[in-house]
Symmetry: C2
Subunit: 153 residues, 2 copies
């Protein structure tokens, strides 16, 4: 009474099974493989076969993505995992500490920006050259300040 996609005998997963179990589209799994985030064995008919702990690896990828980590960074993080054994709690903690730092930094940057914006609301900033939010470390005024007085906006 088993459904077609859960054969009892093979302990390996087909790409369809991995997709169904992980919630990641088949096309995305192939894409990840092309990018080097996951890998597969091939059977005699050139079809992908995954060891069962690939499921955990894909879950790790998905989780990191939800944290906003780009695939390239996820890849380098995964590269630090030992290839010979499935990742342990230890491994996961190491990666997640790293991603937490990234997340923290993004939160801090956004918060700083919000504070700037809060300071600016009500001041009509945008019409003035002195607005800190408007002139944030990028050009404007780098071609001399003199003539600017002649044609004010």
């Amino acid at each position: 009474m088993r459904s077609a996609d859960t054969p009892l005998v093979t302990r390996e997963l087909t790409v369809g099974q991995l997709a169904a179990r992980s919630g990641v589209a088949i096309t995305a799994l192939r894409f990840y493989e092309a990018k080097g985030l996951i890998s597969s064995q091939r059977n005699a008919g050139n079809q992908r076969r995954y060891p069962r702990d690939m499921l955990r690896r894909v879950a790790l990828i998905k989780t990191a993505q939800r944290l906003g980590i780009p695939l390239a960074s996820i890849q380098s993080a995964l590269d630090t995992l030992p290839a010979d054994r499935p990742p342990t709690t230890e491994d996961w903690n190491r990666l997640s500490e790293c991603w937490k730092a990234d997340l923290d930094e993004r939160i801090n940057r956004l918060t700083a920006l919000r504070d700037q914006l809060n300071g600016c609301i009500g001041c009509g900033c945008l019409s003035m050259d002195a607005c800190p939010l408007r002139n944030w470390g990028d050009s404007l005024g780098e071609s001399g300040a003199g003539p600017r007085l002649l044609d004010q906006d």
Copy 2:
């Protein structure tokens, strides 16, 4: 002694002048025009000429971009500005309140994610189906729960 790009007579700006004054590349200005975020008059020789308050509009766009607002949203925000007069402090405040709400929401989402991650560090979550960070409202388990017991990861 005026430099070549600040003619005293014309009150209109060329695309090069607007680029220099706003800190936005010429190609980007043309891109914005193609997207409908800014507009231009053409002179007899088909060259773009901008009214001086276009400088303020571009500054608005840049500022919103720094807040992480996508151009499409900036465009709809700009569409709410009256076309017949330059934007006032009032207008700017309305838009920035709106963008602040957006920013706040992004910060909240990231913060919630970080809290999740903090709760997960040390629990070895990723190896369990019950991890709240791993199973965040997306598929997984939607094809029936029964057979899942047979092939545990």
